[in-house]
Amino acid sequence: MAQVLPAEHDVRRIIGDGDGVADGEVEGLDDAALLDLYRAMVLLRTYDERSVVYHSQGRVGTYAIFWGHEAIQAGSALALADEDWIFPSYRESAIGLLRGMTPETVLSWWRGHPAGWWNPREFRIASITVPIATHVPHAVGYAWGARLKGESACALVYFGDGATSEGAFHEGANFAAVMRAPVVLLCNNNQWAISTPLSAQTRAEFLADKAAGYGMPGVRVDGGDVLAVYQATSEALARARAGHGPTFVEALTYRCAPHVTADDPTAYWDAQRVERERENECLGRYDRYLRRLGVLSDELAEDARDDALERMKSGIAAAEALPPPDPEVVFASAYVDPPPTLREG
């Protein structure tokens, strides 16, 4: 068996603090690419904030907030090649926006409308997986299958810190390593699984330390630093594409919002900590970085925001303008070749 080094424990960072810690750079990312990342984050942030508003207005159902996770999502998704597949959990419901999906589709999903369905092949994005960790083996199987076909596509699968406790995560990770599947296991470690803190989820000091048990590299990255996430994901993808198999990436962040709109976290979280974390949120950090670099102007920032808001406005309008779904949809797609008694009930 190949020698695998113990997981890295140092948390990778690129963005400085504008003070003692100097800014770094990611090779190969020019200004246009840096701004693409920015716009992607703004789009996600806008989607998220608007969705919470729409929910409070009764226009979308229960919604899983991802405020503060935008750097993880945008940084990793933009590191992918077009052909690579994404396997999202409910927390990455809007990841499709970064691949040209309309807000209408994602909003429809949260409105319980079948217009929220998409063709995974169209976007190279698997369906949103609601049950924790059960999509990890899907991503692994996809990546393994693509490799067997001689294709170069990789897979990226998102899951949370809580997900690492599930057998499905474990079995998927082990298959990934054994099959040398070109897959990136990206753990969004936001320190909470609903009300359960990481300390009650595992005694591992670092989630990345799980990697050695599968014989794969593990890295830790500041999940509030979009460039660090981009870089770590790129490295993992390069390894995968070179035939060296999977990487476990632990992206550290902190859930500063309720788990979902229905959740009331005041019973269990530390409001002061949340306040601190909110101040240090990822979009602001990146915004300040780009301005220090002289890449971002007020005008560009406003532009990005306006564009995102515009998309959301037309998205919700389009979602609300949809006719109620055809009841036929209940029966239409469960089977290619349905049993003759399908409609008996």
Partner: protein, 322 residues
């Protein structure tokens, strides 16, 4: 007696039982600090401590698997599965061990553990929050299953489950969690397992159901010109055949209602019992009204899936007109 919601009745049962027996332990995801995502376990951690109301790691097979060991150490674990669809990872432990371990010891040990979970649709929730998987549980030897339809039964059946020496699964219809309210006896209240309830007396047709579908049947009864009796099964295993067959003997007609997908659901078992033991009493076919053999739809379509009082009434008319 106080008027309570069904979820408050569950919470009440847990308080009363844990007070009564110090070996009862509640465990599950978010049952402690948060008091459960439906607040069914609210207050237990403060009252009984974090050792008896345990926030577990996110791992359903781990929850049920360690509960087996806890039972061996003398505890009476009450495991919460956060939603019925997230109980699927624990089916392996359930089938392989929970229902089998006592037998494997030649009866030397008892496994008095309880699994409770919200169940069913009609709550406009995302995918996999609205399933009705009771058939998987009922089919498993060594396991008993109860599904209440009223707050009082939710309290009493859960208390009975916790006190029962065998493993019991209690499925709580989540659409009923917050309404309607109902009278719930204070303090200790036990509804024995294995006794169905006549939810409505009638003479011409028996509507058989459990959980949320009992209410659907009660509504359907109002839509009929004929006199419908509604049997609330309450305990799917052990099944109260006497009450079921007694009602069918009286009315001569039966409609069996389940929300779960039709094929090989528990409704088929109810039909089979009637078809085997009451054939002479029957004046028409036994008709099922069920969910369909497709995934529970996205919630904007859920009313097309969950049996409605209209569908039940139509089935009853069909049987009555036979």
């Amino acid at each position: 007696m106080a008027e309570k919601t069904l979820v408050d009745a569950v919470n009440d049962a847990l308080h009363v039982e844990m007070e009564r027996d110090a070996t009862i332990m509640v465990m599950g995801e978010d049952v402690g600090r948060a008091g459960g995502v439906f607040r069914a376990t609210a207050g237990l951690r403060d009252r009984f401590g974090a050792d008896r109301c345990v926030d577990t790691p996110l791992a359903e097979a781990g929850i049920l698997g360690t509960a087996v060991g806890l039972a061996m150490a003398g505890w009476r674990p009450v495991c919460e599965m956060q939603y019925e669809s997230f109980s699927y990872p624990c089916l392996d432990q359930l089938i392989t061990h929970v229902g089998r371990y006592r037998w494997r010891t030649g009866g030397a040990m008892e496994f008095p553990l309880t699994i409770r979970m919200p169940t069913g649709g009609g709550v406009r929730a995302p995918e996999l929050h609205e399933d009705s998987p009771e058939a998987y549980y009922v089919h498993t030897p060594g396991v008993k299953v109860a599904i209440p339809s009223t707050p009082a039964d939710a309290k009493g059946l859960l208390a009975a489950a916790i006190r029962d020496p065998d493993p019991v699964v209690v499925m709580e219809p989540k659409v009923l969690y917050r309404s309607p309210r109902g009278e719930v006896p204070e303090g200790e209240h036990v509804v024995p397992l294995g006794r169905a309830r006549i939810a409505r007396e009638g003479a011409d047709v028996t509507l058989v159901a459990y959980g949320a579908m009992v209410h659907t049947c009660l509504e359907a009864a109002e839509l009929l010109d004929a006199s419908a009796e509604v049997v609330d099964i309450r305990t799917l295993k052990p099944l109260d055949e006497e009450t079921l067959l007694g009602s069918v003997a009286k009315t001569g007609r039966a409609v069996v209602v389940q929300e779960a997908p039709r094929v090989a659901g528990f409704g088929a078992e109810l039909v089979a019992v009637i078809a085997e033991k009451a054939i002479l009493d029957l004046q028409g076919p036994i008709v099922r009204v069920t969910g369909y053999d497709v995934p529970f739809p996205y919630w904007s379509l859920e009313h097309e899936y969950v049996p409605t009082s209209e569908r039940v009434a139509a089935a009853a008319r069909k049987v009555l007109d036979y």
